[in-house]
């Protein structure tokens, strides 16, 4: 399996905690952030290959957040997570450079597969 580091950004503590733990059990390095500004601080201090970002979080404008993530770490791959079946905001996020859009509840195996594809594709 490809070696990569994931940052999960979502305001639901139990969701982040459980997902981080499941990824770690599979040998994937994962951390969580409950706020977009916390994620920016982490991103500035550490390299993450993939960010899993909830599109609807308190005090956050999606476009500004994606832009800021790209400023801090150009090339970081962002997978958007939406609670809605279809989402205009999600589509906007894809236009702004996010690489994929997934709906909650997440299909875990599909998530692993997608993250592996993205990381292998990036590393050639």
């Amino acid at each position: 399996m490809a070696d990569f580091q994931v940052l999960i950004v979502d305001d639901e503590l139990e969701f982040v905690t459980a997902l981080v733990e499941r990824l770690k059990i599979r040998g994937i390095r994962a951390e969580g952030a409950l706020r977009a500004d916390q994620a920016m601080v982490k991103l500035a201090m550490k390299t993450y290959d993939i960010i899993l970002l909830d599109i609807k979080m308190p005090g956050m404008k999606l476009a500004d957040t994606i832009e800021r993530f790209n400023e801090i770490k150009p090339g970081v791959q962002i997978i958007l997570v939406t609670g809605y079946g279809s989402s205009a905001e999600g589509e906007e996020g894809l236009k702004l450079g996010a690489v994929d859009l997934m709906a909650k509840p997440i299909k875990f195996d599909k998530l692993i597969q997608r993250m592996t594809e993205l990381t292998l594709g990036k590393n050639g």
């Binding site: 639901e12 139990e14 969701f15 459980a18 997902l19 733990e21 499941r22 059990i25 609807k56 979080m57 308190p58 005090g59 609670g83 809605y84 909650k104 509840p105 997440i106 875990f108």
Partner: protein
């Protein structure tokens, strides 16, 4: 007999409110579902690990089971709240608990407040008051007042909902701080006026001694 009609509002306006509330609750229930799915997946992972190692972390499992239980309760509360909201349109006018209604609409508004990073609190009197009115329109009115304050407040501001009964009338106060009116202020005020007209109640704005803005609704207790 209550003096309630819904003549000022269009069907679209009523549907828009209904849709906004149900969308908010369904989003929260989906979050509960997503959490339970991850926790169940984690349990599965731990059992699989135990099959390999012969060791099972029972304390961890108990913790996960507790969390699933907590989320189930959260989901149940949401569903019951949504059910009560849905049934509020059953009759154009009915008797209902004002404590219960104000608690429900404040809870239903919490998600919108959280997204704006605003604290929404509620003060209920110890004694319940029963009134005869339209629970749907009254929830729409209270929500419209909360929404107006959410849109005109800065982050980390506080909004409080309270009510008191006095001399056969009920006064519902929604208190916050209007920092900037914005371009939807007039639309919000028009909606509030339409709803107060349909509910035959009074509306006025006032300020507290510490310059906080109060949207005050006064309903004559028309319970027959």
């Amino acid at each position: 007999m209550s003096n309630v009609n819904g003549d000022s509002l269009s069907v679209q306006e009523k549907l828009a409110f209904f849709g906004m509330i149900t969308a908010g609750v369904s989003h929260d229930i989906n979050n509960v579902n997503a959490i339970i799915r991850e926790l169940a997946g984690l349990m599965e992972d731990l059992f699989y690990g135990a099959e390999q190692t012969g060791q099972l972390n029972t304390d961890k499992l108990k913790e996960i089971v507790q969390k699933i239980g907590d989320q189930t309760k959260r989901g149940e509360k949401n569903i019951k709240r949504l059910n009560r909201f849905s049934h509020s349109v059953d009759y154009p006018s009915q008797n209902f608990s004002l404590n219960g209604l104000i608690m429900d609409i404040t809870d239903l508004s919490q998600r919108f407040a959280r997204l704006k990073r605003i604290t929404l609190s509620l003060d209920l009197p110890e004694v319940d008051t029963e009134i005869e009115s339209s629970p749907f329109l009254l929830q729409y009115l209270i929500f419209s007042c909360i929404e107006l304050l959410l849109e005109t407040s800065t982050e980390y501001e506080k909004i409080n909902v309270s009510f008191a009964e006095q001399n056969g009338s009920v006064s519902i106060d929604i208190t916050g701080k209007i920092s900037e009116k914005g371009n939807r202020f007039d639309d919000r005020m028009n909606m509030i006026r339409k709803l107060t007209n349909d509910l035959s109640c009074e509306f006025n704005m006032k300020q507290t001694e510490d310059n906080r803005d109060v949207l005050a609704l006064i309903i004559s207790n028309t319970k027959s």
